[in-house]
Symmetry: C2
Subunit: 453 residues, 2 copies
């Protein structure tokens, strides 16, 4: 079994119901405090105590209105509705931590590159180089309508546009201010040397930008790039840009295949197979004893909402389960749905009945349940058998799920030598990849850099 350190992100969202739907109704769950700062600073402090690599904050634009053709279940069960902006949480959490990274999801399909570039640069400054960006292109028609569009771009074209968007951002982040341009020289009365600050000129198919990047270079310049695309086009996008990728899988064979495919794409793109860290979504329910953990799982199940899980999944696969009999065969579309979800559903022949069984905890993602030894065994076996680097740990009942993990599982992993016992100094990128604060020269951003003056 590998002695490589397992990487850990907490997987959360600025909302009530994120993955394990219904659990907000558990008496000890505090996710309805998502709109208060104390909720987030407490979470960040707990995660840093557990030496977590990062807090990954999901986001979605639009609402889940595929199930029953309306958003009623989403509203009633708080299925990622309401959902507040994720970026605005970061500075408060950064102020109470020193090492924890923050991976923030932003859908680039509705953002202006010049403004989004500045927002990420600002966070990278304020966190001292601890920010990442989970790049998504969106998949909900309701988001397009809210943005005044008649509909989304087709799936693959969304990625074409995203590729150009990234080029613009690299120009702004990597090419506008030369290294050392910001002199900050009080005695010489020179803040920046104008000859080293350049206007970006970009005229492309989707974007036209002419301007100096408004932010001086931050620790990482480009935030650590996360991506979750699992379609063929999505994997090619990840192979070009991503430094961390999230995968979700039904079983180890599926995940192993997906990881192998991604690493193959990386090498084709001129990068190293391990240039991307792969995180798998999972939930852990741990207690001091195995029976205690299983009792806790049973208790949680009493508060979960299978229907809410189905309403969420319906949007992901583009199927209105409200119109489908319990045992009807289902033709999962591949349209604007999340392709990996639709593919898994198709391959496994999931009927509505089967899905409702899977959603016993409000989500189809695997729950790893047991005492610390059992949980550590399972985490290690997922890593060994699939080639992933670590986990995106979804919350169940919060904050107790995070506190139990930190108190019970982290020490067990440390005893086994598969988890760090202290943070490495340096930026989030350096902590994850060990090659310094900036993107390596073999990354696509390199061509947009200026030779250093």
């Amino acid at each position: 079994m590998s002695r490589k350190h397992i990487l850990l992100n907490a997987f959360d969202m600025n909302c009530v119901g994120h993955i394990h739907h219904g659990l907000w109704t558990h008496p000890r769950d505090r996710s309805t405090d998502y709109n208060t700062l104390g909720y987030w600073t407490r979470l960040a402090t707990t995660l840093e105590r557990g030496l977590f690599d990062g807090l990954f904050i999901a986001d979605v634009l639009g609402v889940y209105d595929v199930y029953q053709g309306k958003a009623d279940v989403a509203a009633r069960a708080a299925v990622q509705l309401p959902v507040n902006d994720p970026m605005l949480l970061v500075s408060a959490m950064a102020a109470v931590t020193r090492h924890l990274g923050f991976g923030v999801t932003v859908n680039l399909s509705h953002e202006a590159p010049y403004l989004l570039a500045r927002r990420f640069s600002t966070l990278d400054h304020l966190t001292g180089g601890r920010v990442g960006w989970n790049i998504v292109t969106g998949y909900l028609e309701s988001a397009a309508r809210a943005m005044g569009l008649s509909g989304q771009l087709p799936h693959d074209e969304r990625y074409d546009r995203a590729d150009e968007f990234m080029d613009v951002l690299y120009k702004l982040w990597e090419g506008s201010w030369e290294e050392g341009a910001a002199r900050r020289d009080k005695a010489g009365r020179v803040f920046a040397d104008p000859s080293q600050v350049h206007k970006v000129i970009h005229h492309g198919k989707y974007f036209d930008v002419e301007g100096i990047h408004l932010a001086e270079p931050s620790v990482q310049r480009t935030p650590v790039l996360y991506q979750a695309g699992s379609s063929g086009r999505g994997q090619r996008f990840a192979a070009r840009h991503a430094e961390s990728v999230f995968v979700a899988g039904v079983n180890k064979a599926d995940v192993a295949r997906s990881v192998r495919s991604l690493r193959g794409e990386l090498v084709k793109a001129g990068r190293r197979a391990d240039d991307v860290k792969v995180f798998m979504v999972a939930a852990v329910i741990v207690a001091p004893t195995g029976p205690g953990a299983r009792a806790l799982e049973a208790e949680y199940r009493d508060f979960a909402s299978r229907e809410a899980g189905l309403a969420h999944f319906a949007a992901g696969v583009g199927v209105d389960f409200g119109k489908v009999g319990l045992d009807d065969p289902i033709d999962y579309t591949m349209g604007n749905a999340i392709e990996s979800h639709a593919r898994a559903a198709q391959e496994h022949g999931w009927t509505r009945r089967k899905l409702l069984e899977l959603f016993a905890l409000g989500s189809r993602y695997p729950a790893i349940v047991g005492d610390a030894v059992e949980v550590a065994d399972q985490l290690q076996s997922w890593v060994a058998e699939t080639g992933i680097d670590g986990f995106n740990l979804a919350r169940t009942v919060t904050p107790e799920c995070h506190e139990a993990f930190v108190d019970l599982v982290v020490p067990e992993l440390q005893r086994r030598g598969v988890y760090k016992t202290a943070y490495t100094e340096g930026s989030l990128r350096h902590k994850l990849h060990g090659e310094g604060d900036r993107l390596p020269q073999r990354h696509a951003a390199q061509v947009f850099r200026r030779s250093q003056g």
Copy 2:
């Protein structure tokens, strides 16, 4: 002299050189730490100690490239370049304060209403109802080019578009979720009542939006609305929307005229003359003794940059002073410049020589200099003779300027009974206007509210 309490905002920006250019070179100035969280949390703590009503954070998109036809002076002297995003500062400061308000500038000309509405709702949630929005429409051609446009909309049309933008935001903030729609009922397993959550449908000249507002109602719903428009069209916009307005003036007569005109527009718009709080930009240099304060001013002047002040002002009035002789008469344009600046410059016949004199502290705004008694006398006399409600205090050498004001001037104002001795409980809006957390029924937003279910 009025016993009305004077209102106070600190006036700052997420950048090095904001108003008083060149002072970043002073050995004690810490504004080059603008990109660190400690700089902002310290500022917020100081302001709350001084019972400031708010921290007003300016912003600008684009660069000051009118002077000499390029941004070289702006870059060299850090004239609002670099400038980081202001919204992302708020949560860290909110976490270390309980009452301080945050007025954040966002240029709506380049934002999507559906996304901006959520960002402000998020901040209003996280601050517990302490957020305001300074609505600007921009004036720099360099911003338009950075956004991929061939140029800005004409001045008055920018406000027409802004009016429609505001209507969309009121629909989202005030009309999408009924009061009480968010039940948060764990026992009943109902987060929100779907029958009380409504899709906004807006199809206008500039915007099309169809969607449920992603955020549940926050304390204030609509953030406190600030505005600084001083043109005729700008004042009509303010009369319809604003709850606080910023003015800048050369002398008391100018300011009094401007305040009278604004209050007249308010009444014409069906609101009360005092429905808008008027803040005037000023800088205070205070010391334990009058001679000490004047010595401090002289010391500061040695570090100020008159040329940087001129480069900033050049963009505001649309005149390239790099091409103008010291005593040449100047034809100030009214094009995309800031009309009040251009008008003042025209009326006072400011030549380049006169401006360089005015910019002795790096800015043309009045500096109020003296011991606490002298400063309090002057602040009170501005209020009494112009009808303003308070001040936007620009920083000079930071943080000492804020600390000196809080330690010396605040107690003097309190002794005179013209400044609060404790915060009122409640939201920023309630603190400023005393009529509760929400916009009053006589505000334009009222028509976008739903009858309460």
